[in-house]
């Protein structure tokens, strides 16, 4: 092969490889999870148990007194761990963003069906997830300006993740004490529930709520959550 032709071929090959790399990088950038952290100011620390009974909360410019959390509750014998609905089969939670409703099944049996509030100021991710950690309570904070929120003692937190939404992003099902507008979007990406519903679900899901911090393991894998649909606003 003449030298000039070899040089031309090598140049073309380099350009092709460069283009391919660019396309591949764009692909990974496009398809990787672009959902931001659920709680922009406290994403990392919200993954830890945090009880602050002397703090006040801020949401929507209002000051709110959070519910007091008694950590000895988890040791109470009245809490039947990983209770069942009487159904037989795998536990599976569905969250329909279109109807803003959560339905928890044990096999074919419905354990719970209740209105929820998903992301309004941040998007709730869709897909199949597993609960990887549950916390009796933690602090969540984020936003800025009129959207600033600071919420200590967020109760009954069930963090979920998958291969696209990493645990560190802090998405969770949890109780919400700062609003009562369930059935309508109200969150920054998490799935808000009435406290009574979140408590009931917390003691039903896996990992089993034996302590105030519970992490899924091979022997006690997290309950499957499927989030689907699209909210109207």
């Amino acid at each position: 092969m003449p030298k000039a032709k070899r040089a031309h071929s090598a140049g073309f090959g380099f350009t092709a490889i460069l283009l391919f790399v660019l396309v591949a990088v764009s692909f990974f950038a496009f398809t990787s999870t672009r959902t931001p952290c659920a709680n922009s100011l406290s994403c990392k620390e919200s993954l830890q148990l945090r009880i602050e009974n002397d703090q006040v909360a801020t949401f929507g410019g209002q000051t709110i007194t959070p519910p007091k959390v008694d950590l000895s509750e988890a040791d109470s014998p009245k809490k039947v761990l990983a209770e069942t609905s009487g159904g037989d089969g795998e536990k599976h939670i569905y969250v329909d963003l279109g109807t803003q409703t959560l339905t928890a099944y044990e096999g074919e049996t419905v354990f719970m069906q209740t209105p929820i509030s998903s992301g309004k100021w941040g998007k709730t991710p869709t897909g199949d997830f597993k609960i990887w950690e549950t916390l009796r309570a933690t602090k969540m904070s984020g936003g800025s300006g009129n959207d600033y929120y600071y919420l200590p003692n967020v109760p009954y937190v069930m963090f979920f993740s998958n291969d696209k939404v990493a645990p560190g992003r802090g998405f969770a099902l949890h109780g919400a004490y700062w609003h009562n507008n369930f059935g309508h979007t109200m969150s920054h990406g998490c799935v808000n529930m009435r406290i009574v519903d979140a408590e009931k679900l917390y003691y039903w899901v896996h990992p089993v709520a034996e302590r105030n911090v519970n992490v899924a393991t091979k022997d006690d894998p997290g309950t499957l959550i499927t989030i689907y649909g699209e909210s109207s606003n």
């Binding site: 090959g13 490889i17 396309v23 709110i64 869709t126 004490y177 009562n180 059935g183 109200m186 406290i195």
Partner: protein
Amino acid sequence: MANLLTKIFVAASGLVLVAIAVLQVREPINPVRIIPSPPVVMAEASGTVTVGSPDGKSNLTMKTEKGEAQDIYTFFIQEKDGVESEIYKKNVPAGTAISIPFNTFSPDNKYLLLKEASSASVIYFVVSTNGKPFSEDLPVAEITTPFLLKYEKYNITDVTGWGGLNLVVINTDKKAGGTGPSFWFDVSSRSFIQLSTRF
């Protein structure tokens, strides 16, 4: 050589584009379709119904006595482990029904959102759970009538619940057609706040 590289490049790019398309349209399998909106508690006949607050600390009981010409609605609040106390009573013409929206309790359980519907109108109003009137001549804080007087361009389509401790969420449509803005009804000042975001 150039031909081979071109083919590899075209094939790889095609695969990448197909993968992008597949990932973008992939949706999880949807289970059953379920209730489209939060349930409302209402009495079909004389009797009582009880609903709990979202935090489990209070119960609201609505007692209905159906009559020939009018119905009597009486509301009671019971704190956890406490005694039940009457907080509000209203007589309405037969054919008018008072119901309890799913999101009736304010987040701190100080107020209740209630709905009164007849064939002619739907009225939303707020009562205090301590049984006290808002002022001497204001036993309840009515939302619908003051709103329609102030905002002639809009119809209320729904009053969904509480966006904050004393903020009721109102959704509207434009009378001229199209979706209207959302509003807060601030119970403490009995005023309306137009919002830039739709609830």
